[in-house]
């Protein structure tokens, strides 16, 4: 009984961690630009696929080097995506930009499909296939890597946004882009850094979970959707809301899968989101837009 509960909790948190990483990426970009970046899931795919390619397929790099190289490459892809596709179209209006991100996701997926193929890729868990026993549940060591990394990343992001000048400038840009420009913040740089950060977070998520879930050229579609759902649930425009939203979403899925039926887990998760959004349109931790005159 307790063992089941612990087991579902662990698997829900692990699953939720990836939604959280993707969701934070959505929130960071939305904050800086009001753009919903539907290419977000593709960076998860890129992180996992590139690591697998560099380590498993070709053996070019040891795993401890393949991981940072893959994340760096995905980050560069994120920056390139911003510079080549978003920045030139900046004046085109929000709807156009969002459609461009959908185009970008199709392109990234297509490139990987053509170059690396359609099969599934994997690489071994970082600490081997060992399990840890907690409260009767058997937790894969990779899950601990996922959760530990998520905790560190969340702490680093908090520090970045709360304590550094550039992090504060990014928040200021989200709150009032015009005022940010007027105090001399280069808002282009803020956008560039948001795309880089979001891509890096996604790629990190892909790297961490690939040993558990495997990866394929098209996993970005579903993960992007789940990450977006996590952001909506937590409150669009709040990275830490997205973090909580992701974990909640993962837990709901795991408990539904465990106690009800795995066939219903997605349906119940999305039902939960719909309900939350009907009761609190701003999300669990979002703030309703309010102007003081």
């Amino acid at each position: 009984m307790l063992a089941d509960f612990a087991q579902f909790t662990a698997s829900g948190l692990t699953r939720g961690a990836i939604y959280a990483l993707v969701g934070m990426g959505f929130a960071i970009i939305y904050n800086a630009s009001n753009i919903i970046n539907f290419a977000q899931g593709e960076f998860v795919m890129l992180g996992g696929m590139l690591t697998a390619f560099l380590f498993t397929t070709t053996g070019l790099l040891p795993i401890w080097l393949a991981v940072p190289v893959a994340i760096a490459a995905a980050t560069i892809a994120g920056v390139a995506f911003y510079r080549l596709a978003i920045e030139p179209a900046q004046r085109a209006g929000l709807a156009t930009l969002i459609i461009i991100t959908i185009g970008g996701s199709v392109l990234l997926r297509g490139i990987v499909e053509v170059t690396l193929g359609k099969r599934e890729f994997v690489f071994p868990a970082f600490s081997g296939e060992s399990n840890v026993q907690v409260l009767g549940a058997s937790i894969a060591s990779q899950s601990l890597w996922v959760l530990g990394t998520l905790a560190i990343v969340a702490a680093l992001l908090w520090w970045f946004f709360e304590k550094t000048l550039f992090g504060k400038a990014m928040r200021a840009t989200a709150q009032s882009p015009l005022a940010a420009q007027l105090v001399g913040i280069e808002t282009r740089h803020v956008l560039l850094v948001s795309f880089a950060l979001a891509a890096a977070l996604g790629a990190l998520g892909g790297v961490l979970t690939t040993p558990i879930t495997l990866t394929r050229y098209d996993i970005g579609i579903m993960l992007g959707l789940k990450g977006f759902a996590a952001t909506m649930l937590g409150g669009l425009g709040n990275p830490f809301g997205a973090l909580a939203g992701g974990l909640v979403l993962g837990l709901v899925e795991a408990f539904t899968g465990g106690y009800v039926s795995s066939g219903y887990q997605d349906a119940i998760a999305f039902l939960l989101i719909l309900t939350v959004l009907m009761v609190r349109p701003g999300g669990l931790f979002g703030r309703v837009a309010m102007d003081r005159v």
Partner: protein
């Protein structure tokens, strides 16, 4: 040093889409001057300030700052040169603390400038020092205006652009804001003051311009404009 005015605007035009908002506007501001720009709602005052700050594209004309053409400079580069603006509606960063709002006002400045800026802002507005850890969104309108002013001053600007600093504030607060503007002028800051409150603005200013549907229609000393029949009829309700 030289007789070159700090700011020279020549034949400036700007539009929103197809609607021309400024047509061939020319004006000058000398070093240390307080110049008022008055006009009714929609006359183009805010647009002019946005053009000067580089956040609104221009169709034609030139803007010279300290004798140099700054047309091609980005907003951040103009701030670096010494042009700061207190925007209409204040636009403080509501979810940041007062301290962080001020800190960002000194974005890109060196440590010494920023620390001098803090000292000055807190001396000028003790209420901001008291509440430095509070979120800016929790301040009253008048306090937010003080914060917006303090934020703009953090960059130690050579030219301060003030857009409707009295808007929506209680009369006693308006008086305080105008006192502060007077003090800033006395301390040597060059100021372009945009106001609907033409009476107060012209009474305070060295010189003034009257703008109507995107054109400068009158220019002169502040007090002369204040007594001008046309200005009185149009803006002072006399």
């Amino acid at each position: 040093m030289s007789a070159v005015p700090l700011l020279q605007v020549q034949d400036l035009s700007s539009s929103y889409g197809r609607i021309r908002v400024l047509s061939t506007v020319s004006l000058e501001i000398g070093r240390g001057e307080l110049v008022a720009l008055v006009g009714s709602n929609g006359a183009g005052k805010t647009t002019l300030l946005r053009c000067l700050s580089g956040v609104q594209p221009i169709d034609g004309g030139t803007i010279r700052f300290g004798g140099h053409d700054i047309n091609h400079l980005r907003a951040s580069e103009r701030v670096a040169l010494g042009i700061a603006q207190v925007p209409e509606g204040r636009l403080v960063f509501p979810q940041l603390t007062i301290e962080d709002n001020l800190l960002l006002g000194g974005y890109g400045r060196n440590r010494a400038t920023v620390s001098a800026g803090f000292t000055r802002a807190y001396a000028m507005f003790p209420i901001l020092a008291e509440r430095r850890r509070q979120l800016a969104g929790t301040l009253s309108g008048g306090q937010q205006q003080m914060l917006a002013l303090g934020r703009a001053l953090m960059s130690a600007p050579k030219l301060l652009l003030l857009d409707e600093p009295s808007m929506g504030l209680a009369p006693v607060v308006v008086e305080r804001i105008f006192d502060i503007i007077d003090e800033l002028r006395a301390s040597g800051t060059t100021i372009l003051l945009v106001e609907q409150n033409a009476n107060a603005a012209l009474a305070l200013a060295d010189r003034g311009y009257v703008i109507e549907t995107g054109r400068i229609v009158l220019a002169g000393d502040g007090l002369d404009l204040l007594e001008d029949r046309r200005v009185q009829e149009a803006y002072l309700g006399v």
